[in-house]
């Protein structure tokens, strides 16, 4: 065998002059490898596939055919509810990132990665990348089913592009937020609790029923929580409705959550691996 010997052997004093890659660049170089890993793991986790693909479709059918008849929104309910279901499935799917991150933190693999000088950022960003792909697939599927059951948006190409951009930004923000929670949780079960919590966020919003139909004390919450402006923006873009300040608020919320989550993840990673 050619390479039984240690390649990185050292002689005498410490080789302080040897070049080390800059941490950010190293993380960037490792990220595709980690993203590939996370995608493979996701693809082979049947449970995760079923929940992230099937659940959004079932929710769509549930809302349109079971609840839809009783809900008055001024338009056909399928038209009203599709952006809501998209958001709900994105929030739910992205929050599954927490479970994968906790799995890595509590298993032995993180020690191996760290002892190989793999940057924590690249491990987390790998999970986020897989989350993006997974949720993109779910989104396309929901759109497909929505078309089949009568959803007819009036969006032009630019509106579509903008809608896709907002949705991706939202998924990105929630994925990083989930990664931060994944670092905080001590077991995958606890991380699952976070998924549960996040998937409730879209309910007290304009996702499924107009906010005016809720009790007055909920208006403040529903109108000012992050999900509502994102939904209003999506709805506005897809259906050609007036959006007011929603797009600005939506982007501000998502960027805020994203930046805060990335920063908190960095701190948490250092704390958890100290």
């Amino acid at each position: 065998m050619s390479d039984n010997g240690p390649a990185g052997s050292w002689t005498g004093p410490a080789p302080t002059g040897a070049a080390l890659p800059i941490p950010a660049l190293a993380a960037l170089a490792q990220w595709p490898v980690m993203a590939g890993r996370s995608l493979r793991l996701t693809r082979r986790n049947l449970e995760a596939i079923l929940t992230s693909l099937l659940l959004p479709v079932l929710l769509l059918l549930l809302f349109v055919y079971l609840f839809g008849g009783a809900i008055q929104t001024g338009t056909r309910y399928v038209t009203y509810v599709v952006p809501g279901v998209l958001l709900l499935s994105a929030a739910f799917g992205a929050s599954m990132t927490a479970v994968s991150v906790t799995g890595d933190m509590t298993g032995g693999i993180m020690d191996r990665f760290r002892s190989m000088d793999v940057a924590g950022a690249s491990v987390l960003a790998g999970h986020v990348a897989a989350s993006m792909v997974r949720n993109l697939a779910a989104t396309v599927l929901v759109f497909g089913v929505a078309f089949a059951i009568g959803f007819r948006p009036s969006a032009g190409p630019l509106d579509w592009l903008a809608a896709a951009g907002v949705l991706l930004l939202f998924i990105l923000a929630i994925s990083w937020l989930s990664a931060a929670f994944g670092l905080l949780a001590r077991s995958p079960e606890a991380a699952g609790g976070f998924t549960f919590l996040v998937s409730f966020l879209p309910y007290p919003s304009s996702a499924f029923v107009p906010v005016e139909t809720m009790p007055a004390w909920l208006h403040g919450v529903a109108e000012n929580q992050p999900v509502t402006p994102v939904i209003e923006t999506l709805r506005g873009l897809l259906l050609g409705l007036p959006m007011g300040t929603s797009p600005v608020r939506a982007v501000a919320w998502c960027l805020g959550i994203l930046v805060a989550s990335v920063a908190v993840s960095g701190v948490l990673f250092r704390l958890r691996t100290a």
């Binding site: 010997g5 410490a14 032995g108 191996r112």
Partner: protein
């Protein structure tokens, strides 16, 4: 700093809350040797390894690995080492090949070289046939071998193995031992922790016994055995009353008294005069002792003498407790 040492630690201390896990540990491991850190559960073995492998920082003391400081030169140290912990550090949902290729890429190999390295390591560890199956379908022994293979992907010069055979059946343990011995012969420095005396005896050129966060003895296995007592006199007694009688006369000198099997041992220098005197002393009526045997002390005797406890029997294998916690926050 000594250049012939692959691992050098002085005065390592580490506490979690009020619990002092390491209370001043000094270690020196010669390049290219196999070093065994032997100790019972909770002795601080894992903590010591994690400090040396740059994963946690000591509260006090210094350590150099491959000639580099484990704190100041942490990232450079990581290019020279690999760590295989007690939890299998491979992805169950990936195949053996995929695991090794991923680690190869992370270690900086090109895609092609990572693939070659994976194939080569799978072959070397007798895993080539299973290489394309997901690790979830593999046996515990195979996973452990993959773990070992994974630790070699980046051509480390110092390999840390934390309890490499804990939880393995005897056959898999033999296989791991063969691999570790092979590693050593290829010039890699191996630092392993173990609770098994037999393992340390078989594999390690030098052994340090860790107990209660301190190194209570170190040397070659032969030196340690000599340090305790040259020889041991094993007695088989006639019946229970004879056992009680002899054990009573030996008092604190009795080693591993076994009432059910009617056996007890005592340290001796092995000379005929002393053995004769001992026999006369414990059995003046010449009726209690059925048979006797004199043999060299085992590491078990060393362990007992140093820690005041018998060595854990190998059937405690599956216990994954105290030390195995990554962060003993519950203490």
């Amino acid at each position: 700093m000594r250049h012939d040492l692959a691992v050098e630690a002085t005065g390592l201390e580490k506490s979690y809350g009020r619990v002092r896990v390491l209370a001043g540990v000094d270690l020196g491991v010669a390049r290219g040797s196999v070093f065994g850190l032997l100790g019972p559960n909770g002795a601080g073995k894992t903590t010591a390894v994690r400090i040396l492998a740059t994963l946690i920082r000591a509260d006090a003391g210094q350590a150099r690995v491959a000639g580099l400081d484990v704190v100041a030169d942490r990232r450079r140290v990581r290019r020279h080492i690999s760590l295989t912990g007690q939890f299998a550090a491979v992805d169950e949902l990936q195949t053996g090949q995929e695991n090794l290729r991923m680690l190869g890429r992370l270690a900086g190999l090109s895609g092609r070289r990572a693939r070659h390295r994976a194939v080569e390591l799978l072959e070397r560890f007798d895993l080539a046939k299973a290489g394309h199956r997901r690790v979830a379908t593999w046996s515990g022994g195979m996973r452990r071998r993959l773990d070992l293979a994974a630790s070699l992907v980046g051509h480390p010069s110092v390999v840390f193995l934390d309890e490499p055979t804990t939880g393995l059946d005897p056959r898999s343990r033999q296989a791991v031992w063969r691999e570790v011995a092979g590693l050593a012969s290829s010039g890699v420095t191996v630092f392993l922790t173990t609770q098994y005396l037999e393992e340390a005896d078989r594999l390690a050129d030098r052994i340090a016994v860790l107990d209660g966060g301190r190194v209570v003895a170190d040397g070659t296995s032969a030196q340690l055995k000599r340090q305790v007592a040259g020889q041991r006199l094993d007695l088989v007694l006639a019946d229970t009353s004879a056992f009680e009688d002899v054990a009573g006369r030996l008092g604190g000198r009795a080693v591993q008294p076994d009432r059910d099997r009617l056996t007890v041992a005592v340290a001796t220098d092995g000379s005929a005069a002393q053995v004769r005197a001992l026999l006369d002393e414990v059995d003046p009526a010449r009726r209690a002792v059925d048979r006797f045997a004199v043999h060299s002390a085992t590491l078990d005797d060393v362990f007992l003498a140093l820690t005041g406890r018998p060595a854990p029997p190998p059937d405690l294998d599956d216990e994954r407790d105290d030390e195995h916690e990554k962060e003993p926050a519950h203490v």
